[in-house]
Amino acid sequence: MRLDRGVAGITRAVDDELRFHFEMTVKDLMNSGMNPDDARREAERRFGDIPRTRQRLAEIDRARIDQQRRAEWWSAFAQDLRYAMRGLRLKPGFAVGVVATLGLGIGANAAMFSIVDRLLFRPPSYLIAPERATRFYFGRTYRGTENVGSYVGYRTYLDLKENTASFDAMTVFYVNEIAVGLGESTKEMRIAMSGPDLWRMFDAKPVIGRFFTAAEDVPPDGTPVAVISYGFWQTQFAGRNDVLGEKLDIGPRKYTIVGVAPKGFTGFSPDQVVAFVPVSAQMGSGEFGGRRMKWYDTYNMTWLEVFARRRPTVTHAAAEADLTRAYQLSYKKGLVGNPGRQPFEITRPRGVVGPILHDRGPKASNDAKVATWLAGVTAIVLLIACANVANLLLARALRRRREIALRVALGISRSRLLMQLVTESLVLAFFGAIAGLVVARWGGGAMRALLLGDTLGADSGIVDARLIVAVAVLATIAGLLSGIAPAFGAVRGDVASALKAGSREGVVQRSRLRRALLVGQAALSVVLLVGAGLFVRSLMNVRGVRLGFDADRIAFVDLKMRGVKLDTAENIQIRDRLLAAARTLPPVESASRGLTVPFWMTWDLDLYVAGIDSVSKLGDFTLQAGNPEFFSTVGTRIIRGRGFSSTDVKSAPLVMVVGESMAKKLWPNEDALGKCVRVDADTVPCTTVVGIAEDIRNGSISETQMHYYLPIAQFHPQDGGVFVRTRGPAESQMEVVRRSLQALMPGASYVTVTPMSTIMAPVVRSWQLGATMFAIFGALALLLAAIGLYSVIAYNVAQRTHEMGVRVALGAQVRDVVSLIVREGLRVVLPGVLLGSLIALAAGKWIAPLLFEVSPKDPPVLIAVVVTLTLTAVAASLAPALRAARVDPNEALRAD
């Protein structure tokens, strides 16, 4: 008799046992002479407190049974694990295939998750109470539309600090690239400036030394103390403990190092920062040329962001109302003495207590949007991977039909069987997770660099607790998704027929699910590959755009004075000297002065042309100024007339060269040459047009800019920098050029040399990104689909060995068998291709704004993708088809 292990069963057993003892006691008492009633009473007396005994015994038994159950469960699980491992060892190809597939899918998703997490979810390291920490945004209405921005001035910040009561910490925070170090080793590095409350908002303790205090952040000059970052401490100072008290040149001032921030601390900056300084100390160094504005007192400079922590007792709505009130007060104060500013009623200033993460606030960048899109794409790839694995598992389960049927017949319960099959999937998923971690680590770094350029610094590395959790979750989902359907399918099978069936019987029912999976995979592959094709074409178009200058051969040399003051004559002199020196350098083909840089710095002035009342109404006209060599240095062609010559000096008549579209705009039906333009004022002498140059693109890649050129000798010769044209690609020569020119710079000033390709990189980046990502994922999806198709067809063919044998015996040629199999493969894939194409066409309108001069319905791309899919399907079917054709009919007919 089996012990009933339920609660009722336990109590019943205890009762039975006690009752037996009771009856035996009564019997013995009766045997020794007592009458039945006395015997019963005596027995009862002896037994004592029966209910309590019962309860105690039942408790003990229940504990014992629970213990037993747990042990059984564990041993069953261990058994399943061992069985699964053995099964996988026997079929290593299958195991490797599944693990690789899952690894790719999981890894890609984990890496994307890490990126999206960084952009959208993870608060800055060490932040106290992230749910109460906020970044302030401010809304101002101009010309009917409201602009929301996060930048304000120091004066406004002081007003806000004074007039709000809802925040227990508030600080400014701003990061800038500032020259660090002196002489040849000068490098521009990221420096963060903030108020003293920064340290109150984070739970960070200095590794050595201390953080700066409120006393050191007093306008106008502050105290030049700096807290360096952990990374900088390790690389620049080798982690020395005696770094405290050392001096560091930041900008034009010498700072004393007072402390080192903990590892991974970057304040509110998403990237690495080298040092943290009080904002007064940085601003007080008076690095701003031009008028000496009281940076701490004026309402006319806006360059800081304000971060604060809401008090726990104040609601979000109340804090926002408080902020709005204070901001409005400040705005009104700013109107006093600034009549040019828009009145209060029109501006309608308001405050927004926004999230810390920039990309969750009102000004989310494109990066976050793209990252989220791509996260969706990787999720699709994971689905494809799971579908593939499900297919493989289904095929395997079907192969094992007889084995499973046998086990069921021998007595295994269906739930145990199910658990076994699911354990198998989970074991595969576990290994897939490990593979995924490897992929995430290795590919993730690459993806981050590609996706976000330099935006994300590598702090604690891409493998951390959150990532591992993400991978674990993904792996479990993948394992269950892939394993459940096949497991259920296998368990539900009809035992008798499975045992009787030989492999002669093709499995027709199951294949509907597998077919559907394949169609889905093909469709998804098509969608991704079409995306890839469109982006690649966009990228090619972007690259092929005629910029009007030779971007890959030019670099711009910029002078950073860093506090060194030169008068006009000295400024002209140093620039001429740099120009002369640049010309002597071996890698430099030619060099010229230049005032503005396309896609980087522009300058425009008022122009006055006879016969046109307002030139500015016709559009934006930007200017450039340079030497006679300018046009040949940057590679801009002169179409008609001439460029500049050495006769165009300061005292000579003023001349200009205009761009082609500017000429057409200002003088539509006439020849621009010889026309008179008055530059900057109506009353100055004429500047005569002497040449027409080809158009350039200057700020927008999709359209040309109306642009004109002045001889630099006649226009601001003391400003600007030097363009150099190198013999090979500009990027490789930068350091050489920089070092040579740096030697000429006086005092602490320095030069930066930036290749045009670096300046242009952000412009092409989004298409480059789209092309690369879609291509990678499209190829991945295609590979997975091909593997899936191959496995299905191979399995089908294996099942039909008998049939193939018959065909060959009846006279079929290799060609016939191959074409039969391949046609079957196509019959599965083509509906998927069709479906995918329809989806791609329908979804085209969402992707259209991201493309460049390519229609989302571009026929060549679509055709190319369809052809690729078809060829892949043929290739995937070919191997099993050839194997089928070579079957020896004798063996096949005899086989079971």
Binding site: L3, L18, F20, H21, G48, R56
Partner: protein, 109 residues
């Protein structure tokens, strides 16, 4: 049995294990055997007996199985496991040593 319950518990386990040395017995039989062997000097209380039996079953020293008694009634039979036999050996040795020590003390003069 009155007095020190803890000491009793250990001794009780030992008595029960010994009782089962000659084959499976149900709870009543164990109590009877102890009574007979000690000439009615030791009488095990029912609650204590069954608590001890169930606890030892949980610890794995004895196994339980339902069977039919001499007069065809359903009864729960207990028997020693390998671990139970080992416990019996170990505890007998310990108890004998303990008793010997106490004996020596009590009979010094």
């Amino acid at each position: 049995m009155a007095a020190d319950l803890d000491l009793l518990q250990g001794t009780l386990d030992l008595l029960i294990l010994k009782a089962l040395t000659w084959g499976p017995k149900h709870g009543y039989a164990v109590a009877s055997w102890v009574r007979q062997t000690t000439d009615a000097k030791l009488n095990i209380e029912e609650g204590a007996l069954y608590t001890a039996l169930h606890r030892m079953e949980q610890r794995g020293w004895i196994d339980a199985e339902w069977g039919l008694s001499e007069n065809n009634r359903k009864a729960k039979y207990y028997q020693l496991t390998t671990q139970g036999r080992k416990q019996l050996r170990v505890q007998t040795a310990r108890w004998t040593e303990y008793a010997g020590a106490v004996f020596k003390v009590l009979h010094t003069a």
